[in-house]
Amino acid sequence: MTEGITTPGAGWRRADGPPAQKREKRRRRRGGGGRRGEVLMVEEAEFTSYYGRPIIKPPVWKTPDVPLYLFLGGAAGSSSIMAALADLTDRPALTRNSRYVSGGAAIASVVFLIHDLGRPQRFLHMLRVFKPTSPLSIGSYILAPFSAAAGATAAVELLGWFPRLKRFGGVVAALFGAPLATYTGVLFSNTAVPSWHAAHKELPFVFGASGMAAGGGITMAISPIEEAGPSRKMAVTGAVVELAAMHRVETEFGIVSEPYHEGKAGTLLRAAKSCTAAGAALTVVAGRRRAGAVLAGALLAAGSLLTRFGVYEAGMASARDPKYTVIPQRERLAAREAGQAAAQNGHAPSVTR
């Protein structure tokens, strides 16, 4: 029921000139102190808005709580898997360290998640319904058993009690580890935030791979060189997949890829890319030396952390600017109308509904 699209507004425009367009340009020049060689992805498109106000509400999630939660969840998830596998293949030091990392990060991520709530004392309300349409509901049912198992395993490891229970707890945590690292991609993309939603097939891979890079990096940095082979491999693979998936997010989605290049998000993501690439390269070159492993692990963890902050900021930027909401939807409408017109010409020209 949207007639008259061919001449938008039928000649009517806002009384004080063409403001959306002008204001947009001015702002860009002022804020565009980013990088010289930056490529403008899309031509400056004309669009209308209500006094430049955002159409959707930007997320009210707090930073650094939520990006930190994503980072810790990813690192905890991948290192819990590493812990279980190392345990089964008899690598005692790697097992112990991975359990500490996964348990500590799991507990910390729960703290950050609860702190982010508007009513933290009502945290348990998360568990009063089970809703597959809500990634946060599913996430709560992943995080709750995971953090309990990972936290308990780490505590038992620290105290040296119940050696048999340790292996069981570690396996339970490992079962929930991979979903914990990837569901956060769904958490972000199942919103109306244009730059997150468009990348809904890629973000789970970005976050999952980023979690592997962080978990592998941290466990390899703190474990003996001879036992940390699996960590190094996981870290390098994670870093490569993260860079590849992030490259898709940054280039595949036309105008809604733009926020990933600009402003604060662009800076964070460029830093993330440098850290991740350097960390992966250093792992390959010098991962078998103590200093090399520590430095590479730190770089990989920093890269993962910066990726989360960058993706978070890019989504916030895309929610705040109405053009990222209006222009893709306009294009979608135009494409649909073109398709309908073509179908009508091709099949039954005389039939109207």
């Binding site: 029921m1 949207t2 001449t7 938008p8 507004g9 009517w12 425009r13 806002r14 209308t48 808005s49 209500y50 159409i55 959707i56 509400k57 930007p58 997320p59 009210v60 999630w61 898997i81 596998l85 008899d90 709530l117 508007g118 009513r119 933290p120 009502r122 945290f123 009063r128 319904v129 809703k131 597959p132 349409t133 809500s134 990634p135 946060l136 991979a178 990837t182 991609g185 769904v186 993309s189 199942n190 109306a192 935030v193 097939k201 890629e202 789970p204 976050f207 999952g208 791979a209 979690g211 592997m212 082979g229 699996p230 960590s231 491999k233 996981m234 693979t237 989504g315 109405p322 939807q329």
Partner: protein, 356 residues
């Protein structure tokens, strides 16, 4: 016994029953209400008769005891937006009705030959090409006197003005929560605080909401918002408390021009279609219904609008889609990524030499 469900239409891969998107004839039934539930109600906001009095905003604030805030949602602040008569700014936690004000001028794209003296077209827009189909008045105008007085005094339904004021019009529109057939906020709420009422509307239960804020970016219209000092989210309830007592919502009761019409949704839809046909017949080419189409991205809205310009002019998204439409694809992707992690970890362990 009616069991009230706070769960959304369940998640299915292929969605054959339109449980995640598409038209849904019986929303309440889908949410778990029994056959004898009341009819689905809604708002039809006819912006062509809105006079921008903001009685709806005031009535809403009064009835729902909403706190004061300024044009940017700052609590207990008195502030002017400085851009129009709109000092409410947007829908939010404390503003459940928002009257938008847009002052527009009509641009004449081509220097059309005028039919008066040179210079007359500066006052009258000169019935340019933009008025295309209005051939009748064009013909009349051409036949008329040199002064073109007839054309000047003719009433223009797009502006509601005569004479030279035809170049300016005011758009005023009272925006509200759309109470979508497929509500993003309801779908993503992890606590069940948001629920579908027996009237087919979407309401937040204040004693359940834990302020996770997920519904805020999930709404494609930017309606629901967190009240910062409270932590919970708030939005229009379509006066659920009044509905259960057989009253109309406060805004519809207060509206002096029947711009806001409340009633059973199917009746409102018929009324809106008739109103649109009337306006079209009067030559208001730009009139269109927004949120009426049940095949749109949210399965049709419970509160829909008659607009006189493109939706984005009023701050509405031109083609909103409920975010959960793509959720099956997202879960598949997350599953694949989880399998990838397990595979990488397993091959990393198996591919490494065992330490001695």
């Amino acid at each position: 016994m009616t069991s009230i469900s706070s769960a959304s239409p369940a998640f299915t891969g292929r969605d054959p029953d339109n449980r995640l998107f598409g038209p849904l004839p019986d929303v309440q039934g889908e949410a778990g209400y029994e056959e004898d539930h009341p009819a689905r109600v809604g708002f039809f906001t006819d912006t062509s008769v809105c006079i921008g009095c903001k009685a709806c905003e005031v009535a809403c604030k009064e009835w729902n005891t909403l706190p004061m805030d300024d044009a940017h949602g700052v609590r207990d602040a008195m502030g002017l937006s400085g851009m129009s008569y709109d000092n409410t700014g947007q829908l939010g936690a404390n503003s459940w009705r928002h009257v938008a004000f847009i002052e527009q001028t009509r641009t004449v794209d081509l220097p059309m030959p005028t039919f008066g003296r040179p210079g007359d077209d500066r006052q009258d827009s000169g019935r340019s090409v933009t008025d295309g189909p209005n051939d009748d008045s064009l013909a009349t105008a051409q036949q008329s006197s040199v002064l073109n007085a007839e054309a000047l005094s003719e009433f223009d339904p797009q502006t509601g003005q005569s004479g030279s004021d035809k170049q300016i019009r005011w758009l005023m529109s009272s925006d509200v929560c759309k109470h979508c057939t497929h509500a993003g906020c309801l779908d993503v709420c992890p606590t069940g605080a948001l629920f579908r009422t027996e009237f087919g509307t979407v309401v937040v239960q204040g004693d359940i909401c834990n302020g996770c804020g997920y519904c805020v970016p999930a709404c494609p219209y930017g309606v629901i918002e967190q009240r910062k000092d409270d932590g919970r989210v708030f939005k229009c309830t379509m006066c659920y408390d009044r509905l259960t007592d057989g009253l109309q919502p406060a805004c519809a009761t207060a509206c002096p021009t029947q711009s806001i019409q409340f009633g059973n949704l199917d009746e409102l839809q018929a009324r809106a279609d008739a109103r649109l046909a009337t306006l079209k017949a009067q030559g208001v080419e730009t009139a269109r219904l927004y949120g009426r189409d049940e095949d749109d991205g949210v399965g049709g809205a419970g509160a829909f609008f008659l607009l006189l310009d493109e939706p984005e002019v009023y701050g509405l998204p031109p083609d909103p889609v409920v975010t959960t439409r793509d959720l099956p694809a997202m879960w598949k992707s997350a599953g694949a990524a989880a399998v990838m992690i397990l595979g990488v970890a397993l091959s990393a362990v198996l591919g490494s030499r065992r330490p001695r």
